[in-house]
């Protein structure tokens, strides 16, 4: 099935059940670093879950403030990732702290992954990963090792929903710009 065949009509909310094993058989596309997880009405995304090195919690809260500042200082710092949303959580299971990093974006992660690693290295976006158990020390120079960690810790979803399915962040921004331009035009015509 082609990329576009499922991408019907943005006015029609859609849900998609994803088979056990996280791929649709016979449709699995090979990316440079392994099979590509399917695109859903909620676009592409990942949910990385990993145990943190005990006692490192404060680093995560400090990091959150840094990212807030970095994005405020340079709003397009993450543009290359083609993001909609990112969420970070810390939670506890049996006295141990886990970290969850969820992203929703418009391109499969495989495509721009070296750009992402480069950006992470430069921006400090994932330096917090260094506080996760098993994270490769040489990740800045070893993109394949970084990617392996991400793939190994990614928990693919089995169901995704989109209120405006398959619409990209760029399309949304274009629509909002158009709306702004229109209201501006209407103002001018008063």
């Amino acid at each position: 099935m082609s990329d576009t065949s499922r991408q019907g009509d943005w006015t029609k909310p859609a849900a998609m059940a994803i088979p056990e094993g996280s791929f649709f058989k016979d449709e699995v596309k090979q990316g440079r670093y392994g099979p590509i997880f399917p695109k859903t009405p909620a676009c592409y995304g990942f949910s990385i879950i990993a145990k943190i090195i005990p006692g490192r919690e404060p680093v995560f809260y400090e990091y959150a403030k840094n990212i807030e500042k970095a994005v405020a200082g340079q709003p397009d710092v993450l543009a290359v990732l083609k993001l909609h949303y990112l969420r970070w959580n810390l939670f506890e299971i049996k006295g141990e702290t886990y970290f969850q990093y969820m992203g929703i974006f418009d391109t499969d992660f495989d495509k721009y992954v070296e750009d992402a690693v480069g950006l992470f290295a430069a921006s400090g976006l994932v330096t917090v990963f260094e506080n996760l158990e098993g994270f490769p020390n040489d990740w800045k120079t070893n993109a394949p090792a970084f990617i392996k960690f991400v793939r190994d810790h990614h928990r693919p979803s089995f169901l995704e929903y989109g209120e405006y399915p398959f619409v990209s962040a760029d399309e949304i921004k274009k629509a909002l710009q158009l709306k702004a331009a229109f209201s501006n035009m209407l103002d001018q015509m008063q």
């Binding site: 440079r32 495509k111 721009y112 070296e114 750009d115 800045k140 120079t141 070893n142 399309e171």
Partner: protein, 445 residues
């Protein structure tokens, strides 16, 4: 300091060849492969040698190996395992990633290139046909002496007329934009961008990300080496010309369509600098013909469509991390020229090119996977590279234009992949190292 005397010339220099020949080889055993290599490595010139004597030389030789070829020569398993995964797998196994499906699938490749028996390539560039014939006979004699070395296939290269400038069978002037390496002393022509760290193309040097890391072992084998993605791309010239006629009423309109597909007029003049009318003098002038960018000069693609070949293959200031995605292009055309106005003659003609880079996965495979074949690159939707993308007749090409863009649907495939392979291009010392490997254990095979 770049070690010119240890780097095979193809990586750093372009030679004045009008013809040449590639021979694809298989080694039945390690000893015969090494005997062949010992003899031919004397002829493989380094960048330093070619720089010194290119004016007198009449022929230039390069040798390179597939991963299976390194194995066949007797490189041990530990060392073989240190090569990057994509090279170990080889181009055939990466077909889906590269867009080599349908007509382009390795099942349809010629010359034994899809076979695991492909071990090595000997590249000959020659000044003229007489020299090529001489070298061809000499090489045939060498192979005859190395029992166990087999020539799987060969491809003769021919420049296409007129011979006073490099261009392909479609008629586009080529070799205009090429990255420059820091420390070579070469001065980038305007628009080429700052020189790049040598490690982007040569193993063992710092790259744009920092000091060298994760190099294949032992060091003597990888230092001053590189990787080459070989592509034999057939060009369907009659189909291309029919397409231009179908979409352009006048010769001028046809030229404009050709220019929009590429991003440059066939003369080489970039559409950014000559948007409405060809300017052959501009196309031929290296001080001006690459001097442009996109973000400021042409953000919406009114001059150079976002989907055109040149803009995809180097989006310049409209992509992130461009310095980590550059490639060195070498190679030549093959097959007979199809004169303007002549009907399709059934002969195969095209480009037999090498894309040289330090990381196949980050540079060449990224280009093929994203820039060439991602249907939604630049938010284009349902488009691939109009020259080398995998085209099955269902895709589009959009030409931004005020007030309304022109959309061509059902774009045909102007090219077909007829073969390809990943080669490791060893340095000169590494060639000697390979020729003198000692392997009493493998001899038995």
């Amino acid at each position: 300091m770049i070690e010119y005397e240890d780097i095979q010339h193809i990586l750093l220099t372009r030679v004045p060849a009008l013809t040449g020949r590639y021979e694809f080889l298989s080694f039945r055993n390690a000893a015969s492969g090494r005997a062949w290599l010992s003899a031919i490595l004397e002829k493989a010139q380094s960048a330093a040698e070619v720089r010194a004597s290119v004016e007198q030389d009449k022929r230039w030789v390069t040798v390179a190996f597939t991963w299976n070829g390194l194995h066949a020569l007797g490189v041990d398993e530990r060392s073989l395992a240190t090569f990057p995964e994509e090279f170990r797998q080889g181009m055939v196994a990466r077909a889906e990633i590269l867009g080599d499906t349908g007509q382009n699938h390795p099942d349809n490749w010629v010359g034994g290139l899809a076979s695991p028996d492909l071990h090595a390539i000997a590249i000959l560039f020659a000044r003229d046909a007489a020299e090529r014939n001489r070298c061809q006979i000499e090489h045939a004699n060498l192979v005859a002496q190395c029992e166990g070395v087999k020539v799987l296939s060969a491809l003769d290269l021919e420049a296409t007329p007129p011979f006073d400038y490099a261009h392909d069978h479609f008629g586009y002037r080529d070799r205009l934009s090429q990255p420059v390496i820091e420390g070579t002393g070469e001065v980038p022509t305007p628009g080429t961008g700052a020189p790049l760290k040598p490690g982007e193309f040569v193993l063992g040097y710092p790259d744009e990300n920092g000091p060298p890391a994760n190099l294949p072992q032992p060091e003597i084998l990888s230092r001053n080496g590189s990787y080459m993605a070989y592509r034999r791309l057939e060009e369907h010239v009659a189909k291309f010309r029919d397409f231009l006629r179908e979409h352009g009423k006048t010769p001028e309109e046809q030229e404009l369509i050709a220019a929009k597909l590429m991003g440059r007029w066939r003369s080489g003049a970039p559409l950014t600098l000559a948007p409405d009318k060809d300017d052959p003098a501009l196309g031929a002038d290296p001080q001006r013909n690459n001097d442009f960018n996109y973000k400021q000069m042409d953000p919406h693609g009114y001059a150079v469509p976002l989907g055109s070949h040149m803009r995809r293959m180097n989006p310049r200031d409209t992509a992130h991390n461009m310095n980590r995605r550059r490639m060195i292009r070498r190679g030549a055309t093959y097959g007979p020229h199809l004169p303007e106005g002549a009907a399709e003659d059934g002969a195969e003609r095209g480009i037999a090119a090498f894309v040289i880079c330090a990381s196949l996965i980050r540079q060449f495979e990224f280009a093929q996977n994203v820039w060439v074949n991602d249907r939604s690159f630049h938010e284009l939707g349902n488009e691939r590279d109009p020259i080398i993308g995998n085209q099955d007749g269902t895709l589009e090409f959009k030409i931004p234009k005020r007030p309304i863009r022109k959309k061509i649907t059902g774009l045909p495939a102007f090219t077909t992949v007829r073969g390809g392979a990943y080669f490791f291009l060893p340095g000169i010392k590494a060639l000697r190292y390979l020729a003198t490997l000692d392997d009493t254990s493998i001899e038995t095979g």
